[in-house]
Symmetry: C2
Subunit: 698 residues, 2 copies
């Protein structure tokens, strides 16, 4: 270590390398984007300087490492998704029956090449005992899976619970949450996700897939120097990983890129879009090769629709949009209430028991409804399909009477909504996409059936004049639109949602109705409900996330936002020693300290973590407890004072006290700043931190 | 006017309203984003303050005006697109024949409800004279249309020439180009576009559609106060209009939103995405209602593909990607050469003659090739289709021998490429999308036919093992992928291009191949060619556009980038009069002047345009030529000095001389700054302008 360097530069503007600055990231601290950007440039220049054989190798490696990591993360994400799909299918099937050929075969593989499938034995053989036995196995295995998932989460990785998207969003916003993207979280989340989905709980795997992909990106990125020491670069890779996660969860690579852009990422320049696009593609190709469903489709519920829509359907689409928006508002409100109650009541001490109860209730009730017993994804898949496409009529969806089906579907929708409200937030990996879509799709299909019943009864009604005879009503399309509306209401996605629905269904001619419904659902949701579920959770958890939207309040200047200099603890640049700094550190809890001269002229800014680290370094390394410290270039050659410049931000962003709050906000949002010093003629007047801003506008 | 205000505030931080700042935008000046943002907040607050009946009306109007304008712009864009589609179709048909029922009917309407269509008379009736007459009419009308388009552009609106996307991009980047988005440009571009497309020139209508939509947005936005005086708000609306333009040109609303995001817009926050989405939808619905092609499809070449792809096709897709990338590189290089030659040679003085020559040559050659004579969009549409879908076999595309067709298609591709190189840049409205797609599609279809020929000859070749018998090769899909590759090579679009291809073709199962091809084309293009055609044109035209990508050079600080204070002309805050300011204005050509005290402490920044305007105001309004001027709050109540604060930026952004260049760049890129003052302890050290940055990194 060369901390005791003697600075011999006597220039007008000393060429002090601020990227040599040491910076310490604690848990829940913010990263310094611009410093990382400087570091990246210097790393690139170091490599360009190398010559000869080793230089060539280094430069080649530099060229390849980024593509290598993107391809690697994409492939691993695809592999994980394949593993999850296959294992989850096997475990789900296990609750219904077993294969005579071997217990390790799921229903599909067991019946491979057999038309009547005699090797697959269902527990429920319609006899009295069989019915009871089937019911018991279904419930007990469901309970078991859920409890194992909850134990895994509780014992090994608490961050594996839930969807993970609010946290990923916060991390991409520039925060450090240690262990959230670690190896242990990855493994537990993967296994837990398989178990929680297979247990029949009302959970999806999209959010968790995004979390998994980010874990993979975070772990893999440590392999190469470009990402290893650079948190900003790593966040770029994670933005791409979000795209890959959705790409494999939904089989929607483009939708994934847009999801990352619209919903998750904080900073998404063109080159990140390009990387996301590339990684989402690699992940999708990997999953295509694994072919987990043996259908050459990427997801279970990929359908293809080629129908046109008619004018009389417009009001129904609008109705679906309104219903979706209202569902979103209601769901978020109720879900937050449940979460808050859970946290403040005795339930918070018994997470596993809670999971067990919910899993058991879900299993018992679901078993009574054919539509629910097979899992949420299968339900959605069948609701989306046209009647002629549905294999085995899916429990009478197309053959039973309209009245019966409509009633059943509405009941299922209500049950699903209630399950989801209680489930989203318990301590197992759980996504919100598929359950939301299921609620919307059941309601949509039910409404579609109502319309079909009307059409069947009055085919010559003038309303149907725009439909030139034949197939006027396709309930499947209403299910698709209903699913989009409900998901739109809950997540407030727009473009990405339409593209995802588009990639799922190939409903080219339905783009306009889907767009319309999503617009209405979002509008209703924003007007009556405020935030999306993810933003609401970020808020509820108190994550330090600064929305990228400019908040407009009443007129204010930097002076109004700042903590005034009178209330600050500043480090005087003259006469400090290690001991005096240590005292300042211990006696104050502030996150950082401006360094000023006796006249309050700003010299720099010292972060709390860096202060501790610098004090420790010198306390351990040297016996210079009482040596003087200098924070500015020292011009004497034989000075024994210690140079603290490298621990300090020597060029903090400064603003005028009269600067308008919009500009200050934009500085924080767009530059990703952590603090801004307010100064006039170089004299410190105050400091504005991200917290000040959050306090002022939230 | 209350310019002679006497400032009576004596606070620590005077509550000076910087949004009352007067700012003057000259042609090619940059807008001040943050000032506009402040103005918007204050406007909103003014309205909130209103009470009673008029307050209610104002607030209601405030709520509705944005949606109203978005819907209005969307509708008008849809109407214009419908008008262009219908008129262009009619004019194009006019070159081939006429309707006995009336000359105002195009072929489609003339043949309405007739199967054999006896009312439509083609000039070329296959007799000797008929052939010659048909040829002459075809060429003369083509020439006439092109020349009229060129005259319109030359005489009435020079900005209507070309695609308009580079300029729109520059404008959205924050620049002012007067008259570029005016009413006259709108009308001339619309008529000129119809004529230039109908003339058979190798031009598309996508770029011009975007320009048209922006004109409509710009003109319409003047109706309401939210946009009238606010350039930043207006740019947001224009970003949305770009989406609407592509939406109607391609029938791809989502693709339009992404095009705006990826290719054109500079600043695209979530609420802009949401507005773009909404406007693109309205525009598409309007066009759908107009139904210009009477097919219930949004565009001429909307097809629907439902085939899967096979493993053996992968290398061919990769080949198409490589060819597309290389075509892009070659096209941009050649096109720029032609444009540069045109500008420096005598041709520049004869734009109409040049258009006439190119139109005539294009018409004469196109008439010899059946594929070319019908227009580019029709060619692309038919190349995309499967053989069984193509009406009338499109000049033997599916019936002639492979060898003949392959040769013809390749020849057509070369001709089309050459035409486009010479055409893109002449003084008529001209887009680049459709011609690029045509080149790619012809090559793709030709390659598809080669593969089909191989398959027909050796159906049992091991390569085809992955294809389970039957239809293994669909040349139409290769045309689609080829088109995507060529367009990707020329424009370097990624996500938006895939979504556009997706919306055009509904090729759900081809998403991965299209993605792959686009990735390869972009990679090849970026590696061997540098910029996209739009960026290259921005560069060539010297538009002051700052790319949103961070440029990394060698280590530099703000001090290295700045123009040093010694080389600057500063306004001393003390002792200035109108006369002395006038002298400073006339004796210097600088774009702005820092205002400093005798000690070089920064007080503010005075822009050149504002300086002129303030001088003129006071010279005309008062007889106070020799009155003193104050730039800082004046504390004496009975001071007759003139307050110049409102003309000045009193809180300019200041940076430390040692600040790293990355941070400075990011300040300019993300905050949309126009200048930054470099200061140390409040003392001016220099100034960095956008030009300094462009000079340093380009």
């Amino acid at each position: 270590m060369t901390n005791l360097s003697i600075n011999t530069n006597v220039p007008n503007y000393p060429s002090f390398k601020s990227s040599k600055r040491r910076i310490i990231y604690n848990d829940f601290s913010t990263i310094d984007w611009t410093l990382d950007s400087q570091k990246e440039r210097e790393r690139q220049q170091e490599i360009k300087k190398l010559t000869g054989y080793s230089g060539f190798i280094s430069q080649l490696f530099e060229m390849c490492q980024e593509s290598f990591i993107i391809i690697l993360v994409g492939c691993i994400t695809g592999l994980f998704a394949g593993f999850i799909d296959i294992t989850e299918g096997w475990l789900s099937n296990m609750r219904e029956g077993y294969c005579r050929e071997g217990f390790y075969l799921n229903k599909q593989f067991c019946c491979w090449l057999e038309s009547d499938c005699t090797d697959w034995v269902e527990y429920n053989d319609s006899s009295f005992l069989g019915t009871i036995f089937g019911f018991l196995v279904y419930c007990i295995l469901g309970l078991l899976f859920a409890v194992v998932a909850a134990i895994l989460v509780k014992e090994y990785a608490k961050y594996a619970a839930g969807s993970g998207i609010p946290e990923v969003k916060t991390i991409l916003g520039g925060f450090i949450i240690h262990r959230f993207l670690g190896f242990r979280t990855l493994i537990v989340k993967c296994l837990g996700l398989v178990l929680s989905v297979a247990s029949g709980l009302s959970v999806g795997k999209e959010g968790p897939s995004v979390h998994l992909a980010c874990c993979i990106a975070n772990i893999t990125s440590r392999l190469v120097p470009k990402y290893k020491g650079n948190q900003a670069n790593r966040r770029e890779l994670m933005s791409a990983a979000c795209a890959a996660g959705v790409s494999v969860a939904f089989g929607a690579p483009i939708g994934g890129v847009l999801f990352s852009l619209e919903e998750v990422s904080y900073y998404f320049p063109h080159k990140t879009m390009w990387k996301s696009f590339f990684m989402a593609m690699i992940a999708a190709i990997t999953l295509q090769i694994i072919n987990p469903f043996r259908t050459h489709k990427l997801v279970l519920f990929q359908v293809e629709l080629n129908r046109d829509w008619f004018g009389f359907e417009l009001p129904i689409f609008i109705l679906l949009g309104v219903l979706g928006g209202l569902y979103g508002v209601l769901f978020i409100k109720m879900n937050l209430k449940v979460i808050k109650y859970r946290r403040t009541s005795w339930i918070s001490n018994h997470p596993i028991a809670e999971v067990a109860c919910i899993a058991l209730v879900t299993a018992i009730i679901s078993y009574q409804f054919n539509f629910l017993s097979g899992g949420t994804a299968e339900l959605v898949a069948n609701l989306f399909r046209e009647c002629k496409e549905i294999e085995g009529d899916f429990h009478g969806l197309c053959s039973n009477s309209y009245a019966q089906n409509i009633f059943l579907l509405l009941l299922v929708a209500v049950l699903k909504a209630v399950f989801t409200i209680f489930t989203f937030g318990i301590k197992v990996p759980a996504g919100i996409f598929i359950p939301s879509m299921a609620v919307g799709a059941t309601v949509g299909r039910a409404i579609g059936m109502v319309i079909q019943a009307i059409y069947d009864a009055f085919p010559n009604f003038w309303v149907f004049a725009s439909c030139p005879g034949g197939e006027c009503v396709t309930p499947g399309t209403y299910a698709i639109i209903g699913a989009a509306a409900a998901l739109g209401g809950v997540t407030r996605m727009t473009v990405s949602l339409v593209v995802i629905m588009f990639e799922l269904t190939g409903a080219l001619s339905y783009v306009l109705p889907i767009m319309m419904t999503v617009v209405i659902a979002k509008w209703i949701g924003d007007t009556y409900g405020g935030e999306s579920i993810y933003d609401a959770l970020i808020h509820l958890n108190g994550y330090p996330f600064l929305s990228s939207e400019l908040k407009r309040g009443k007129a204010a200047t930097a002076a109004d936002l700042m903590t005034s200099v009178e209330d600050l603890v500043c480090i005087q640049s003259e006469g400090q020693t290690i001991q005096s700094l240590d005292t300042i550190y211990r006696e104050n809890r502030y996150k950082g300290f401006p360094v000023v001269t006796a006249d309050n002229l700003i010299i720099g800014y010292f972060g709390r973590a860096e202060l501790l680290s610098s004090i420790q370094t010198f306390t351990q390394a040297t016996q210079t407890q009482s040596n003087a410290i200098h924070f500015q270039p020292s011009f004497s050659l034989f000075d024994d004072s210690i140079d603290f410049q490298s621990w300090m931000d020597t060029t903090p962003m400064m603003v005028h006290p009269q600067m308008m709050q919009e500009t200050v906000q934009e500085l924080f949002i767009k530059m990703g700043l952590r603090y801004v010093l307010v100064a006039r003629n170089g004299v410190l007047k105050g400091i504005i931190t991200k917290k000040d801003l959050l306090r002022h506008f939230n």
